[in-house]
Symmetry: none
Subunit: 462 residues, 2 copies
């Protein structure tokens, strides 16, 4: 283990240079123009896998972007870890808000800035380098490893589910390890035990059958922007609760133990509001900010558009207006069920003056993993060794739908070992990964592989 750790320490500069190459590939999965880049990125990952000493490396086609697989299965009797990550990234727009170009990784203030630095190329790369530290010069890993790195996480992992279903045998393991989340705060390593689910919808309203002159027609037909605003305004009540009937029906209440645990975390609403630049926070009455984000379902407008949006004044009464609205879900809400409740409610409250279409763009279930499972306990031990500090327990407000799929298809629990930071700007301009977390993450990854067999022995093995 000493050799592994000192190897990691000695190769820092090379790791940063290699990571920059990885981050330079604009593997934006949602943009058809970037399809060749996504393909090129898959090949880059495969080449790295071969370089670090993994075996059976394959770029495996799907109906969408390819999955990259590799394994190392020579630790007889040791547990098998299925390491999942993704090499695709969110679109970089709006480009003008980036301090340095999104695909030219740049270090400032001990952070490495680039699209994908934290979500998730940087965190995939952390494990590749800890694997390299074990396997170099014909070395060996303390566990068996299977790596599954996909290219469609940012667009809903549409083709990964059939892929996993078709390759159940190949992907068989004892647990799933994912590093695609954040620790609680800088210097506060934490282990995340629950994720929210998602139901992502689009509403399209049509009023008049063409754009009209707002002078000649204004006042006689319902403006679709106004109608859409009226619909959106009805989706929360004055206590910040979502008004969709039965929306909260299946929500698993927080235990007193969980609420108490959250209260132990270093947190200040005042500081949080200041960091976000808002004079006042907003949310569901009766819950703290952390509870709202981690353990309560919410409804957010992700986008809205309609009419004239350029410079100056155009007197149009538009034909159409649209919004993207997503709901974050908690155990035991079901994404499809919530999407149906949403659609039903929108159609009920939409006025007859417009026609409305509701589409379910994508979804995923919430997940929760017991904090006394062997994988989580090994992760806690590894974090303490990797960062020199006992980690805290937390949840995460975001979604990783594949966690639910791994449970449903492979029967595996997932350990979420997050090396990002809450302010890392994932999905936004100036995304970054902190360099302490990057290198601490590599040490933690190595310790996790070393610790797991101990916690796994005699229990939790399939």
């Amino acid at each position: 283990m000493e050799q592994v750790l000192s190897y990691l320490d000695q190769n820092k500069d090379r790791y940063l240079a290699e990571l920059k190459d990885f981050l330079a590939i604009p593997s934006v999965s949602t943009n058809p123009d970037n399809k060749p880049d996504v393909q090129r990125c898959a090949q880059w990952v495969a080449d790295q896998m071969t370089t670090v000493g993994l075996q059976n490396v394959q770029v495996m086609p799907t109906a969408g972007h390819p999955v990259v697989y590799a394994d190392w299965l020579n630790a007889a009797g040791a547990p098998t870890v299925l390491l999942y990550g993704h090499y695709d990234v969110q679109p970089p727009e709006p480009l003008e808000l980036w301090t340095s170009p999104p695909f030219e990784a740049t270090i400032r203030n001990e952070n490495l800035y680039a699209r994908g630095a934290a979500d998730d190329k940087g965190q995939v790369y952390i494990h590749l380098k800890s694997i390299e530290a074990f396997l170099k010069d014909g070395g060996s890993l303390p566990v068996n490893l299977k790596l599954l790195i996909e290219g469609e996480e940012e667009i809903g992992s549409e083709h990964l589910v059939p892929f996993v279903t078709e390759h159940k045998e190949m992907l068989n393991a004892d647990l799933v390890l994912i590093s695609d989340s954040s620790m609680f705060a800088k210097g506060v390593p934490s282990i995340c035990y629950a994720l929210r689910g998602l139901a992502y919808m689009q509403i399209d309203l049509v009023g008049p059958n063409k754009d009209l002159h707002s002078g000649s027609f204004g006042g006689s037909v319902h403006n679709p922007i106004q109608a859409l605003s009226e619909i959106i305004a009805q989706l929360h009540d004055k206590n910040g609760k979502v008004t969709i009937p039965d929306f909260y029906k299946a929500v698993r209440a927080l235990s007193k133990k969980e609420r108490d645990a959250f209260k132990k975390l270093p947190w200040s609403d005042k500081k949080y509001a200041k960091e976000l630049g808002v004079a006042q926070l907003y949310g569901e009455k009766g819950f703290s900010s952390l509870e709202r984000v981690w353990a309560r379902p919410t409804l957010e407008c992700n986008g809205i558009w309609g009419g004239f949006t350029g410079e100056g004044a155009k007197t149009v009464l538009p034909s159409k207006a649209s919004a993207k609205i997503s709901m974050r879900l908690v155990p035991d809400q079901k994404s499809d069920k919530i999407a149906k409740l949403f659609e039903k409610h929108i159609k009920k409250i939409a006025p007859k003056t417009v026609s409305v279409t509701v589409r379910n763009l994508h979804g995923g279930e919430a997940a929760i993993t017991p904090i006394d499972s062997p994988g989580v306990m090994a992760a806690v031990a590894a974090l303490e060794k990797g960062f020199g500090k006992k980690p805290l327990y937390q949840r995460e407000g975001g979604s990783i739908p594949i966690v639910v799929q791994f449970k449903e298809i492979l029967g595996l629990d997932t350990v979420l070992l997050g090396f990002g930071l809450p302010d890392e700007n994932a999905h936004a301009p100036d995304e970054f990964i902190n360099l302490d977390n990057f290198f601490g993450g590599m040490r933690t990854s190595a310790h996790f592989f070393a610790e797991l067999p101990r916690f796994m022995s005699g229990k939790g093995r399939k």
Copy 2:
């Protein structure tokens, strides 16, 4: 008058031939390539003015396209009419949608098709020929006339306002006559006596100081799209009334005579809704559709934007959301005053969770020439004689900024004598003027000049 009318009747073929020459000049003011054509067109108008017997004909340069001026001031003691029109046209594109070439005037189904046929060359030409009928063989007009034909109406008349301001004395008159609009319907001559004004605003909301991940932050801060929607939803009450305090305070109520006059117009809400493709109309309770569009102030969302608006799903909680909102105004609302009321109200109702900026992008006053004013009464008498049918009264929901400028700079009311049709395709392919309206318009123009002195005598003169 008999001679004038029979002259008009006898020269129909020549008029059509001359008009075709006028329409053949592609005087597209917005296209720099057409600058020589615009200049040539100004000269064509000037030559026509000379030919028909007008005096002091001048092509007057501006910082943009020239203004053409002429007068005839020999009717001692009679009122003076300032006739305004424009010789520039909209671009003809998309060319492939024209049945016959836009600059080769073609008659089909009793309509003359060409760019500018109705807007506004055809209507300018109507008056030139009625003037010719009076002035031929050393004849005289019943009124004094000043003609002001500009070349930048289709690009915002940027240089006309300074021109009018600099030539106040030259343009001094008793009223303005404009033929650049439509009658209510084919076979339904009408006189338009009022226009709405405008206050065009932009609201910019900022919530968090950057785009956030909607999973990691959703539920803890007020989404600016949601906040903007909540603001917009509050701007109308359930009766379709604008909720801004004092918004209706200065509104001049419709008289019973006006409401009765509107009811005489051939109108079907059902047909209107069907043409617009809406299942149900919308508007301020207690008013008909025509009243809502013509005589009531309204508030319309012209554009809205915020967050992710591309294909697919991006889970962003955006930092910003914006809307363009304009209000159509009626006498005696003032644009600046309404803009201030709007800004005050928005700032009052905006929640403390976001910061809001309100900007006044532009505005213009409403205009009204009372139906019992001499100019309107003369126009009504002229239309009845010109078309053999009592005209109906109408208003227009849009704005004609130059009407407001003539009122503000020269202190003159405007008579709007429109010979176009609502379906004339102004600004679109297959623009046309109906031949009945073209020749009826010439007779009406002649009658207007003949009738005006009678209605004007003793009142309304400066």
